[in-house]
C-alpha cells in the first residue's frame, strides 16, 4: 500500500467551484474557464502516489499550483474534487475531529518563511506540536530536546526566534516537524528563503537526516537543481497540471514535453559544457627548475599525489607522481625520464560527454592543452560536479 495516494484531485478557487468543475469535466481549458467565470483552477486532476520512505519532490515555477497541492495533502486548503489517501484512509471524506488527529499524528510540515511563534522560546516552539496533543510536559520536552539536537541547535533551547539567523530558524522549523515523530514530512519551499550556501548545507543535512529517519517526504521547490539533488522522484507542475513524474534520470533522459525539456535544458550539460568550462586553472604545477623536493612540497600543500611539470613557457613536459619525485630526490637524479607520459591530453573545446569516456580509463588528471601549452587540469570530480552544477561552479573546486 502506498503511503500517500492522490487521485484526480482538483482545486478551483472562486465563488462557484461546482460550475468550474462541470466545465472542467466537459473538457474546457483552464484559461477559458477563467475568462468566462472568473474561477481559477489551482490544481487540475493531479494523480500520483508516494511510497513509504520516498523523497518526492514537486517542482514548478510560481503560480504552477505546487504550494496549493501540498496544502491539499493536509487539507489546509479544501480540495474541490478527488480523493487523497494517507495510509489508505481518504482524508477528503474525514470529519474535523479525525482530520485533526491525522494532522497531529501523521503529517509534519515545514514552511517557507519558517513561521515560528515569536513569543515562545526555541524549545517551546519545537514542543508546540506535542503540546497541542496534550502530551505531558516532561515527555514532550524530552522529545523536543532530541530533535533540536538532531538539527544541530543544541544550546539554543532558551533563545527566541528573532535571535536566530534564517538558516537556524528553519532548523527550528524542521525540528518542530520532527518532534512530532510523524511519518510524513511536508516541506513547502523549505529552503527557498535561505541564501545559497546555507541552502546547500541544509540540503546535505536533510539528506543525511533522511538516511537515518526514513520519513516519507513531500518537498516543494522551484529550483530544478534542488529537485534533482534531493528527489527520489520528481513531479513537474505547470499551470496546475502535473506534466511529468519520474526519477531524476528519467526526467533528464526523456522529458515528457517541451516545457520539461526547456526546464532541464540547462542541466543537459553533457552536450553544452566543454573542457574549458570545467577545467581547473593550473595554479598548482611544478616548473622544471623547481626540482623534486619543491615538487613534493607543492603536492603536499595541495594534497595531491601527482603534479604536472611545465617549463618556463608553460609548455607541458610531463606528469610527476609523488613516488617518482621522492625516488628522484633520494637518488638526486633530476632527469626528464622521471616524468610520466601516460596521461591524456585534450583540447579546450572537447565536450563533456567525450571527457567522461577519457576519464573512465585513466587514474591521472587530464591535461587541457593548446599547442603544447598547459591551459588547465581536469580531474574526475570536476566532470561530475560539472554535470551536476554547471559551468559556474563546476570548475571552481575539485
Amino acid at each position: 500500500m502506498d503511503k500517500i495516494e492522490v487521485k484526480n484531485v482538483i482545486k478551483i478557487f472562486g465563488h462557484n467551484p461546482k460550475e468550474g468543475l462541470k466545465r472542467l469535466n466537459n473538457g474546457e481549458s483552464k484559461d477559458k474557464i477563467f475568462e468566462e467565470t472568473g474561477l481559477t483552477v489551482g490544481v487540475n486532476q493531479a494523480s500520483f502516489s508516494i511510497k513509504e520512505g520516498e523523497f518526492f519532490v514537486i517542482m514548478g515555477l510560481s503560480g504552477s499550483g505546487k504550494s496549493t497541492l501540498i496544502r491539499l495533502l493536509n487539507r489546509l486548503i479544501e480540495p474541490t474534487d478527488g480523493e487523497i489517501y494517507i495510509d489508505g484512509e481518504d482524508i477528503t471524506k474525514m470529519d474535523k475531529h479525525h482530520l485533526i488527529n491525522i494532522r497531529r499524528k501523521k503529517l509534519g510540515m515545514v514552511f517557507q518563511n519558517f513561521a515560528l511563534l515569536p513569543h515562545r522560546t526555541i524549545l517551546s516552539n519545537v514542543e508546540f506540536g506535542l503540546e497541542i496533543q496534550g502530551i505531558p510536559k516532561e515527555e514532550r520536552e524530552k522529545s523536543a530536546r532530541k530533535s533540536i539536537e538532531d538539527v544541530g541547535l543544541k544550546g539554543y533551547e532558551e533563545s527566541y526566534p528573532r535571535q536566530l539567523s534564517g538558516g537556524m530558524q528553519q532548523r527550528v522549523g524542521l525540528a518542530r516537524a520532527l518532534a512530532n515523530n510523524s511519518d510524513i514530512l511536508l516541506m513547502d519551499e523549505a529552503f527557498s528563503a535561505l541564501d545559497p550556501l546555507i541552502r546547500k548545507e541544509m540540503q546535505d543535512e536533510l539528506i543525511s537526516l533522511q538516511d537515518r529517519l526514513k520519513k516519507t517526504v513531500v518537498f516543494i521547490t522551484h529550483d530544478l537543481d534542488e529537485a534533482l539533488k534531493l528527489g527520489d522522484r520528481i513531479a513537474i507542475m505547470k499551470d496546475g497540471n502535473i506534466v511529468q513524474i519520474g526519477t531524476p534520470e528519467e526526467i533528464l533522459k526523456n522529458p515528457a514535453n517541451d516545457y520539461v525539456s526547456n526546464f532541464i535544458e540547462k542541466v543537459d550539460r553533457l552536450k553544452i559544457l566543454v573542457a574549458s568550462n570545467i577545467m581547473k586553472k593550473p595554479d598548482i604545477v611544478a616548473t622544471w627548475k623547481d626540482g623534486p623536493l619543491m615538487a613534493v612540497r607543492k603536492m603536499k600543500e595541495a594534497g595531491i599525489s601527482s603534479i604536472f611539470v611545465v617549463d618556463k613557457e608553460r609548455k607541458l613536459k610531463g606528469l610527476l607522481t609523488i613516488d617518482d619525485a621522492i625516488e628522484a630526490a633520494k637518488k638526486d637524479q633530476w632527469v626528464e625520464e622521471v616524468l610520466q607520459q601516460g596521461f591524456h591530453t585534450t583540447s579546450p573545446d572537447t565536450p563533456l560527454s567525450d571527457l567522461i569516456a577519457i576519464a573512465a580509463d585513466t587514474k591521472y588528471p587530464i591535461a587541457v592543452t593548446e599547442g603544447e601549452k598547459l591551459l588547465g587540469i581536469i580531474v574526475r570530480v570536476s566532470i561530475l560536479s560539472g554535470l551536476v552544477l554547471g559551468k559556474e561552479q563546476g570548475g571552481v573546486d575539485s
Binding site: 496544502r71 485533526i100 494532522r103 509534519g108 517557507q112 513561521a115 511563534l117 515569536p118 513569543h119 497541542i132
Partner: protein, 279 residues
C-alpha cells in the same frame, strides 16, 4: 424638507417612561445594585488603605514596568495629589475608572474575538461601536439617570459605553493581524479552534490588546468631568464646581489631578504592552 413629521421624541419618551422604566426597572435596579457594590468596594479599599502605601505601590509598579523616569513622575504627581488635598477625590475617580475598565475588558475582549472570527459579527458590531463613540454622552446620560439614578453607577455605565469600543476594535485588529503563515502552522499541526485562539492568536495579539486597554483607560479618565455632572464624586466634580463658581484655581487643581492620573496610567499600561511584545 419636512414632508412628514417624525415623532422620535415622543416615541422615545413613551418607550422609556411608559414601558422601559416600569417593566424592566427591577432588572436595572439589580444591575445598579451590583455595579454600585463593586464601585463601593473599590472606593472603600482605595480610601481605606493609607495614601503612602498606595503611592509606594504605584511608584514601584511604574519603576518595574516603565522605568525610572515614570517612577519619578509618579512620585511627584502623587505628592501633588496629597499636597493639593485632593487625594480622596483622585481615589474616587480612580475607582470609577478601574470599575469601568474592568467592565470594558470583560465585554470588549470576547466581542473583539468574536468580530475577528466572524465576518457577520464584525459587520453588525462595527456600526454599533461607531454609534457608541460618536453619540454625545449627554444623550445617554439622561436615560442612565432614569434607570440607574444619580451617582457612581450611571457614571460607570456612561464611561463604559464611551470607553469600550477601543478594547473591541484593538482586540479584533490584533487577532486579524496575526500572520497567516503562523495560523497555517497551528492548523497543520492539528490545533483545534480553541487552541489556535489561546496558544497562537491571543498571545500574538497582546500588544494590540494592551494598546486597546490603554485607550479604554484614557477615555474613561476623559469622562471624569462628564460623570461628575450626574453626581459621580471625584476630581471631575472639583472641575465642575470650579466652572459653576468661575473659580479658575479650583478648576486647575482638579484638572491637573486628572492629568497626573492619566499620565501615570498611560505610561504603565503602554509599557505593559511593549514588555509583552519584546518577549
Amino acid at each position: 424638507m419636512n414632508y412628514f413629521y417624525l415623532p422620535l421624541e415622543r416615541w422615545t419618551n413613551t418607550f422609556v417612561n411608559g414601558w422601559l422604566v416600569p417593566n424592566v426597572g427591577k432588572f436595572f435596579d439589580a444591575i445598579s445594585e451590583g455595579i454600585g457594590w463593586f464601585i463601593g468596594l473599590v472606593t472603600d479599599l482605595l480610601l481605606f488603605l493609607p495614601p503612602e502605601l498606595i503611592a509606594v505601590a504605584i511608584i514601584l509598579i511604574a519603576w518595574k514596568f516603565a522605568g525610572k523616569g515614570v517612577a519619578l513622575f509618579a512620585f511627584i504627581g502623587l505628592l501633588y495629589l496629597g499636597s493639593a488635598n485632593i487625594w480622596d477625590e483622585a481615589m474616587q475617580t480612580l475607582s470609577i475608572v478601574v470599575v469601568a475598565t474592568v467592565f470594558s475588558i470583560i465585554a470588549g475582549l470576547p466581542i473583539g474575538i468574536l468580530c475577528a472570527k466572524s465576518r457577520t459579527a464584525d459587520r453588525i458590531v462595527r456600526p454599533i461601536l461607531d454609534f457608541m463613540q460618536t453619540l454625545p454622552s449627554f444623550v445617554y446620560l439622561i436615560p442612565a439617570i432614569l434607570l440607574f439614578g444619580l451617582g457612581g453607577v450611571p457614571a460607570v455605565i456612561a464611561t463604559f459605553i464611551f470607553a469600550t469600543p477601543p478594547a473591541v476594535r484593538m482586540t479584533n485588529l490584533g487577532i486579524r493581524q496575526v500572520p497567516t503563515d503562523v495560523i497555517e502552522v497551528a492548523q497543520a499541526f492539528g490545533c483545534t479552534q480553541m487552541q489556535l485562539l489561546l496558544k497562537v492568536q491571543l498571545p500574538l495579539a497582546v500588544p494590540s490588546i494592551m494598546a486597546g486597554i490603554n485607550q479604554t483607560i484614557m477615555l474613561s479618565l476623559s469622562m471624569a468631568v462628564v460623570a461628575s455632572m450626574i453626581g459621580a464624586p471625584g476630581l471631575g466634580s472639583l472641575v465642575l464646581s470650579g466652572i459653576s463658581s468661575v473659580n479658575v484655581g479650583k478648576g486647575l487643581v482638579g484638572g491637573l489631578g486628572i492629568v497626573v492620573l492619566a499620565i501615570i496610567l498611560d505610561r504603565i499600561t503602554q509599557s505593559l504592552g511593549k514588555k509583552n511584545n519584546l518577549k
